[in-house]
Symmetry: C2
Subunit: 328 residues, 2 copies
DNA sequence: GACAATTTTGCAATCGATTCCAAAAAGTGC
DNA sequence: GCACTTTTTGGAATCGATTGCAAAATTGTC
């Protein structure tokens, strides 16, 4: 059912029907009534594709996420979708995976769809390859990065201040008397580098000397379990651990329990992200809340400002806060 | 950069450029080479919107989910997106919320976008209102419901057999000697009704007489905690509980622990969905795995079959299995 | 070099809307 | 009833592609 079909049955031209559909003035009340009847009769609603073509605005937003199953990305994607749906946009979502090739590919696809804006959630998009892909395929489309940033004219960033957040975690541990601290890291993303930086800085602040203890683990419960055991064997004096993500903290906590340590008295530990893992592990894990949902919501608003061509700043910092639970 | 711009610079017509872009025969090798050079130079890629308009196929799929933050929906949405991305489709996703009005609205929006197919994830879409909305706005668009079903010519369903799954849970409990069983329910969705049915049927099978004990709770950890306490006070003989979802089982487990019950010896319990809650609670919860990711993957394949007009059955049943852990 | 066969190319219509401009219809005043 | 204004309507171009058909260019054969 197209606008022409309606026009034909109403005995008018498509222009007139279009005016009624878009509620524009200059249509005779009787004609309008007649057309409205037909619109309802056939449940007509205009083809947004065709509309987008002529208007050069398709009200489409692209969301890029490495893996939506990752709890904190889920929250972010949800916030973005909700905010844009409210404003009459549709969101096209892609799970890009971690390969940079895939990311480039999806950036191209989104540009082909002529999306009006893109939100990239997660620091994994803060890479040279993504930068090149943006320059190549969407140099003019507003891009907002949640927890990431690239220095390009059409890119804006919304970031949690994880560096000072991790410093706060260290301060918390130090205040409770834990001074032999270690950091367990899952991978060297830009975001994680900042965390380690915050860790080291605060150690210095607290006057804890010596090289900072950083252990590497895979992003799995089991790996964190193993690494923590090894850590405690190699450095038995350790009494405080910061894990780069909650999942690791969960695995590490299990290891500490199995080794017979009293938590938080003998060894205290924290996660980062304040995710479901932190809340549902036993004991409940103290975690750094980087407020990804809020961050994503802000990102959406940011993007809307850009779409409506309001001038805005280059990036925004949001302070993260600590959700203290049973492990500290 | 449109196809005409390329054509102009190459000194040929748009038709010729189109032929090159789509790799169609009948273009002189030299012309082709020249055009390909320009395509690369300008990073030209055809506007999918315009393409969709003329081809009457936009390679767009709609995904409707009540709330993607709901862990088992996340997995489903992921599976669907991945499968369609692989096939060159884009997915438009909406979190519909639980209101039926919103669902109707999003169904209309998707129809306006002329999506080629729709996947609805979750039994919440199995309602009269959704049925009406489909008839009204997308009577011709293939719709696949994951864990739901509506009797309409364009709708197909992929369902987990939760009824017999819950029966299996009851059987498991009964085999371990638990015969005073209760069911804690979060809400009366079609899916949950089937669970209760399976619960009651198996009680009868096992020769456990009396009306089945069914308690109602909100879908929160706290509510499950309270309801479980009340349940154990009102029926202290209870030695086995089936919770309609894992989150409830998690809250209930905490209540049982606080009341001093030995799990699983004195009281055993199970969740449903085999979600992250089941895996990360302490003790780890035995849960019914309704295999939503697999279900969603099957749904995608099902939809592809429909899109390619292969004939397929009306609905498919998938048997669920039990992931046994520490609470039974 | 003429003519047929074949290859290469472009014109124009199309998809389903929107919108400017001009034409038609209706309304107003004398 | 005529001239003029205002309201209502329709025609045609447009957005950015695709595609069937006809025209043009090239190639081959004698």
């Amino acid at each position: 059912m197209t606008i022409y079909d309606i026009a034909k049955e109403a005995g008018v031209s498509a222009s007139t029907v279009s005016r009624v559909v878009n509620d524009k003035p200059g249509v005779h009340p009787l004609t309008k009534e007649k057309i409205e009847g037909l619109l309802k009769k056939y449940n007509y609603s205009p083809d947004e594709t065709a509309r987008g073509l002529i208007k050069q605005k398709n009200r489409l937003i692209g969301i890029l996420v490495a893996d939506i199953r990752n709890v904190h990305y889920t929250d972010g994607a949800y916030a973005v979708e909700k905010e844009f749906a409210r404003r009459g946009y549709c969101c096209i979502i892609f799970n890009t995976g971690s390969e940079s090739e895939e990311k480039t590919e999806y950036i191209q696809i989104l540009s082909q769809r002529r999306v009006e804006g893109v939100v990239m959630i997660g620091s994994t998009f803060q890479t040279k390859e993504v930068e090149e892909a943006i320059v190549r395929f969407m140099p003019k489309i507003p891009v907002i990065m949640v927890n990431g940033y690239l220095k390009l004219p059409n890119v804006r960033g919304v970031l949690a201040d994880e560096r000072s957040g991790v410093s706060a975690l260290v301060r918390l541990l130090a205040e409770k008397g834990h001074r032999h601290l270690a950091f367990v890291n899952n991978c060297y993303t830009p975001s994680n580098r900042l965390k380690i930086q915050g860790f080291e800085e605060e150690l210095a602040h607290q006057g804890i000397e010596g090289p900072a203890l950083v252990y590497d683990a895979q992003t799995t419960f089991e790996s964190a379990y193993e690494v923590t055991k090894r850590l405690m064997q190699e450095h038995p004096e350790t009494d405080g651990i910061v894990y780069s993500v909650d999942l690791l903290a969960s695995g590490g906590g299990r290891a500490l329990a199995d080794m017979g340590y009293l938590v938080p008295d003998q060894v205290a530990y924290t996660g980062i992200d304040n995710s479901i893992y932190a809340e549902f592990s036993t004991p409940k894990i103290t975690s750094l809340d980087n407020k990804l949902p809020e961050l994503s919501l802000m990102a959406s608003r940011f993007l809307v400002d850009l779409l409506e061509e309001r001038s805005v700043t280059e990036k925004m910092m949001v302070f993260s806060s600590i959700a203290e639970r049973e492990t500290t």
